[in-house]
Symmetry: C2
Subunit: 87 residues, 2 copies
């Protein structure tokens, strides 16, 4: 869904709850990300069945940010390599 300010408003379902995600990304991308969050929450829950939803979501966020930090390091390495080869 797209509104007049150029922002998309995408309804998604994550772990049984409805959310409207507002942003500049295309809805198809937002839906894909929402599916990844839902999947990761279910994965973490299967390893820790006693966790409540809030803790489960926090651990999912920890997991996602951990991946993000590692990728930042990988990008930095690749960009250094690229500029070295271009010189």
């Amino acid at each position: 869904m797209s509104s007049s300010d150029g922002k998309t408003r995408t309804p998604v379902l994550i772990y049984g709850q409805h959310y409207i995600i507002t942003g500049t990304e295309p809805s198809v991308h937002v839906k894909h990300v929402a599916e990844l969050v839902d999947k990761k929450m279910n994965e973490i829950r299967s390893l820790n069945p006693s966790l409540d939803t809030a803790k489960l979501a926090v651990l999912t966020a920890v997991n996602a940010l951990n991946e993000k930090v590692k990728m930042e390091e990988r990008i930095e390495y690749l960009e250094t390599e690229l500029s070295r080869l271009k010189d």
Copy 2:
């Protein structure tokens, strides 16, 4: 903290709750990631003051996984560029 199985068990505080994060990453890395999650949750809360902790954490996970997906695309592009330049 490091245990005999080579896994680290790192106590962290995120959004007022204590967690023990178990994994193969060094504790200093886990603590850094936990701080990022705490910071992002507080940022999202300032934009959406009525959200409960579970929804706030879910949106934090959405935000982090969104960044991760974009970084995967960037890594793919950089790796393609690198292999092209090496040929």
